[in-house]
């Protein structure tokens, strides 16, 4: 089976206009291991060096690091480096051969215990994902009666890609999904939230995935260090297949060019770096991400 190893560097740098006297940060920056992905190695460097660290796995199984700084500082650098091996995990079944979506919905809501427990976590509204009639209505065009679930979800991905314009200036992290639906603009985060909201409004299970995407430099150009960014996409649950990843920003089925870092109900569960500081005044933020394929090899 094909196997790609990526080397990822993700640096976050804050410069404050006024010293920060106390800072406590939660990091979800270490790629989780999954059936199709292994985090081979990782390293976190923080400057100034924190005296307090704690580690845990959150409710969704994502690795979380937490640190605290008690001495005044006016700069904070968090640099995470990792090597991740990714194997192919696109669905083995053609989208048109999956279960009709209404049957999937019935299964998701009718059951208790056992296999339904995992997807059932992702059926309901969450902080960034509302459920509403307007969202269901947008989704219905794709979800015609009796249509196989994955075919319909794939079509929804395509429509979002077609109907919405990528525009980093149009939204912030707090822009509601309903606004995104109206103004038809946003970034990967917005498109992921929108598609999840559409799916959940129909009664289906969908989760939010944060991670990285391999970008391809223009022909003849070198890969630019730090020019990449965090990415976000969607995972939809098909009872007959399990979780299937879709990328509405790029209109594709996720396979080997996406590196998963964490998943949850929405952005609020997987925010790469979340913190509370005391002081600081105004701040400047600089985020640099580089994703490089290290080797391409064929595993047995």
């Amino acid at each position: 089976m094909k196997n790609v190893v990526y080397r990822i560097r993700h640096e976050t740098e804050y410069r404050y206009s006024w010293p920060v006297t106390l800072s406590r940060q939660l990091l979800r920056l270490i790629p989780r291991s999954t059936p199709w992905q292994d985090c081979l190695w990782h390293e976190i460097r923080v400057r100034p060096e924190p005296p307090e660290w704690s580690w845990l796995e959150d409710f969704f199984g994502n690795p979380v690091a937490q640190f605290a700084l008690h001495t005044p500082h006016d700069e904070l650098l968090v640099a995470v480096e990792s090597r991740v091996a990714v194997r192919s995990h696109a669905p083995a079944v053609a989208p048109n051969e999956t279960l009709p979506w209404e049957m999937a919905r019935e299964w998701l809501h009718g059951g208790a215990g056992g296999a339904v427990l995992d997807p059932a976590q992702y059926l309901f509204a969450s902080p960034h994902v509302p459920v509403a009639g307007s969202l269901a209505a947008y989704a219905r065009t794709s979800f015609r009666a009796g249509r196989p679930l994955l075919a319909a979800a794939r079509d929804l991905t395509r429509r979002i890609h077609r109907d919405f314009q990528y525009d980093p200036k149009a939204t912030t992290i707090s822009t509601p999904v309903e606004t995104v639906l109206k103004q038809k603009r946003g970034v990967c985060q917005d498109f992921a939230h929108l598609q999840i909201a559409c799916l959940r409004s129909l009664g289906l299970a969908a989760r939010y995935v944060s991670g990285y995407l391999l970008t391809h430099p223009a022909p003849g150009k070198e890969r630019l260090v730090g020019a990449d960014a965090s990415h976000a996409w969607v995972s939809v649950f098909c009872p007959d297949l399990g979780w299937v990843d879709l990328d509405p920003t790029n209109d594709l089925l996720v396979d080997m060019e996406h590196v998963t870092v964490a998943w949850g109900r929405d952005f609020s569960d997987v925010s790469p770096m979340r913190g509370v500081i005391l002081g600081g005044g105004e701040h400047e933020l600089d985020v640099r991400v580089t994703v490089e394929p290290e080797t391409e090899e064929t595993a047995a």
Binding site: G111, A120, L278
Partner: protein
């Protein structure tokens, strides 16, 4: 004369009457009270009523109503008559509520632990994952002895057949126990003989158990034998803040807000004057999702960053455990009988009000079929749906509701309506008359190492209007003391009496939090600043009025006053910047108009209204520390100002403004008097006094520097007036104000409480005491100026050297005072706001 008492008493039809049997006979356990009422003269009853009202007022018992934008408080409403329940009946209630608490706790422990109930299909996933109260970061936090619910309350109601039902579970941070206690303290004195004869069970042991249990389960990693327990409140704007403050005092736990606590080295600490002190247990009245902005709601300004991790590490006990509100949902009711049999191996003793969770397809169809007889509610609190009575709906509205329910059935529950029982109530509009109101009973439970313990009593709530279907204190209901009769002699254990031995006496302010001290400091500063501004405005406006009446009057000192007003930001900096809108009828903008604006317009930063607003805000935050008199004085002043603003807007009137300012100055002096006469001389008082003196010192140095300004050399009456020293001056000198004696009185006279040296000496003295206790605190340079002031030859200064040294010293004093203030801020308060940043 029972007939008079019952002249308008409604006969219960279709509901259970707590006092009367269907035949009209008084139920035996009410007989004694009924006889007492029959035997009481109207004056006696009026006296009792007045006693209750008076106690509520005196104790400042309030209930805040969120809907009111100003956070207005409503006085607590306590009915004169207790609700009485016989011992035998109570035992059944007790057993049922203990069972329910035990069951709910086991469910919580499972959901936040290995989730056996979910995996086995005994609990539908929607009840957990669809409920915003399921806090994922709380999953896996250890709970000593598996206790998640340390406190629990059940809301009960009685149906027409006399059967009790649970109509709501309170698992987040149940309120009401403190109000029940306060009700008891009042009502047991209204009917003392009756209280004794009925052998009413006492409440104190419940609170004692709470203290003991929290202490029992406190972390002991530091080897402490007296763990520190704090009560965490969201603050004075919370609807039950009175109860938080009251319980904290009664239980002997410091009352803290999120900012008082900090997490360091994995533990929780109280920021106090004496440094960081370890906190072992947090009894919280703050909703759990607000408790930690790092892991829970990021927009919470009320929480403690890092708290969840400290709990995860077992370094702090949080009661109730984070995530406990998960069980506040009607959707759960239908599953409880099954869960009870499965988990406890016994039948559920008291039913919940009949409820269908529509997430079950069969339940949905059932509910839709008899919609007219049911109440439809949101299944989870975050949905914020109002309850809808099926019978109230028009055909169109009903269709809409049904469509919505079919679209997302898991969001709805349908409940039978309980025809609430009615209890007698004293009719306050009549000298001797009973009427009745629908009632519900809140029963409180506390966890102990030997199982759950019920408070023998509780909070009885009665509806505000006759024939109510819903009882809510937010909607104008009232409360009753609940008397549980006993067949055996009652224990007269009292927390108030037994706990306070000499060794428990508290005299130091060791637990005084930095936040409280900071608020006291600023309360002092703003009170004084308001006083200064009021005096300045009064002096300025009085001059205007005099000139208006007598042409050019004391023109020479008006210049000095206006310059001072500009310096204090009561007037725009200079004439070029005069950009105020012309007033009403196109009349030119005058200084008077600007002065009136800075009196009443809270948007003018240095003005009286703005400063008073700050004072009221800080006073509100200090409510549990200030006497009611303080609060009443402040409130009245704020109300008067509001009235003044209205009338000045209609028609500007200098005379009226002056009359108001006279009142304001009096009110502010009253406030100062309370601080002097009514407050204990503890650390908090010291900081309040430092605040006052710093502010006064700043004002006085500004005044004196202005008087030295040669441009405005004129009369000095204004100076004496602003410094409130006219009387003293006149009694000493019998002549018009001359520079030397005026300066001596206002600068160097250590007996004059307005003099500069008086403030400096006081501040140096406070500084010395703080230094003794906490180390250097920035008062050193003020001390040097005290010596320079004492050595000054004032006559020489004023005549020969044009006051150069004097000016130097005044500026120096002012700077030293500012330095002292900054130093106090850095050393004792946490003055930087926390902010929240999420990056990607």
């Amino acid at each position: 004369m029972p007939s008079q008492l019952l002249a308008t008493y409604p006969r219960a039809t279709g509901r259970y009457d707590e006092m009367f049997e269907f035949s009209g006979r008084v139920r035996p356990h009410w007989q004694a009270l009924f006889d007492a009422l029959v035997a009481s003269r109207p004056e006696q009853m009026a006296r009792r009523q007045a006693y209750v009202q008076n106690q509520i007022f005196e104790n400042g018992i309030t209930y805040n109503v969120y809907a009111d934008s100003k956070g207005a408080e409503r006085p607590w409403d306590l009915d004169l008559l207790p609700y009485i329940i016989p011992g035998a009946e109570w035992q059944k209630i007790e057993a049922a509520v203990v069972q329910r608490a035990t069951l709910l706790n086991r469910i919580l422990a499972d959901v936040y632990g290995n989730q056996y109930l979910l995996r086995e299909g005994l609990l539908p996933p929607a009840l957990v994952h669809g409920h915003a109260g399921f806090l994922r970061p709380a999953h896996g936090i250890p709970s000593p002895d598996g206790i998640h619910l340390h406190l629990y309350a059940a809301d009960l109601a009685r149906s027409p057949d006399g059967q009790w039902w649970v109509i709501a579970d309170r698992t987040q941070a149940p309120s009401g126990a403190g109000y029940a206690l306060e009700n008891r303290l009042i009502l047991s004195r209204v009917f003392p003989e009756l209280f004794r004869d009925l052998r009413v069970q006492h409440l104190a042991s419940f609170f004692h158990t709470l203290q003991e249990s929290l202490s029992h389960w406190a972390p002991r990693d530091d080897g402490t034998d007296s763990p520190r327990i704090v009560l965490l409140t969201p603050g004075p704007y919370n609807e039950t803040y009175f109860e938080h403050a009251y319980l904290a005092r009664y239980l002997g736990f410091p009352l803290v807000e999120g900012h008082d606590l900090t997490v360091r080295d994995g533990c929780v600490w109280l920021k106090s004057l004496e440094g960081l002190q370890r906190v072992h247990v947090i009894l919280r009245r703050l909703d759990d999702d607000f408790c930690d902005p790092l892991e829970l709601r990021a927009d919470s300004a009320l929480g403690i960053p890092g708290l969840a991790q400290a709990a995860r590490d077992g370094k702090v006990l949080i009661a109730n455990a984070l995530g406990s509100s998960l069980l506040e949902s009607g959707a759960l009711y239908g599953y409880l009988p099954g869960l009870c049999r499965r988990i406890l191996g016994e039948p559920l003793l008291m039913p919940s009000v009949a409820t269908w969770w529509c997430g079950e397809p069969a339940a949905l169809e059932d509910a839709l079929e008899k919609l007219d007889h049911l109440v439809i509610k949101g299944a989870f609190p975050q949905l914020r749906m109002d309850s809808v009575f099926g019978s109230d709906l028009s055909e169109k509205a009903k269709k809409k509701l049904i469509a919505a329910m079919r679209e997302r059935p898991y969001q709805y529950v349908a409940q039978e309506t309980v025809h609430l029982s009615q209890a007698p109530r004293w009719d306050r509009g009549h000298p001797r008359r009973l009427d009745s109101r629908a009632m519900g009973l809140r029963v409180h439970v506390v966890a102990s190492p030997n199982g759950y313990v019920v408070m023998p009593g509780g909070l009885t709530r009665v509806a505000g209007v006759a024939d109510a279907r819903i009882i809510a204190l937010q909607r104008g209901g009232a409360s009753k003391d609940t008397w549980v009769m006993s067949d055996a002699p009652v224990s007269d254990f009292s927390l108030l009496a037994s706990r306070f031995e000499a060794r428990n006496l508290v005299r130091s302010g060791a637990n005084l939090s930095s936040r409280v001290v900071e608020n006291l400091f600023w309360f002092g500063r703003y009170a004084e600043r308001c006083d200064n501004v009021a005096r300045l405005l009064r002096t300025a406006l009085a001059r205007s009025l005099a000139e208006g009446n007598a042409g050019e009057g004391q023109g020479s000192d008006r210049g000095a006053i206006l310059a001072l007003c500009r310096e204090c930001e009561l007037l725009p900096a200079d004439d070029a910047d005069f950009k105020l809108e012309p007033s009403g009828k196109g009349s030119p903008v005058t200084e008077d108009v600007a002065l009136l604006a800075s009196l009443t317009d809270p948007d003018i930063p240095g003005g009286f209204a703005a400063n008073l607003r700050q004072l009221v805000r800080i006073g509100f935050n200090l409510r549990e520390r200030l006497s009611l008199d303080n609060w009443r004085t402040l409130n009245r002043l704020a109300q008067d100002l509001e009235a003044q603003r209205g009338s000045q807007a209609k028609e500007p009137d200098l005379g009226e403004a002056l009359a108001f300012l006279d009142q304001a100055v009096t009110a502010l002096m009253t406030l100062a008097g309370f601080a002097l006469d009514g407050m204990t001389r503890d650390m908090g008082w010291r900081f309040l006094s430092i605040g006052r003196r710093l502010e006064r010192l700043q004002f006085m140095t500004t005044l004196l520097l202005r008087s030295l300004d040669s441009e405005h050399r004129g009369g000095l009456d204004w100076l004496l007036e602003l410094a409130d020293s006219i009387i003293t001056y006149r009694s000493r000198y019998m002549m018009r104000p001359e520079p030397l004696p005026v300066m001596d009185l206002l600068l160097l006279d250590e007996a004059n409480p307005r003099a500069v040296l008086f403030q400096v000496r006081g501040l140096v003295d406070y500084g010395k005491r703080l230094t003794e206790q906490f180390g250097p605190c920035g008062s050193e340079s003020l001390a040097r100026y005290a010596d320079r002031l004492r050595e000054m030859d004032l006559a020489q200064e004023l005549s020969a050297s044009e006051g150069r040294e004097l000016r130097d010293v005044l500026v120096g004093v002012r700077d030293a005072a500012a330095l002292f203030s900054d130093h106090l801020g850095q050393r004792f308060f946490s003055h930087v706001a926390e902010q929240n940043i999420g990056a990607d």
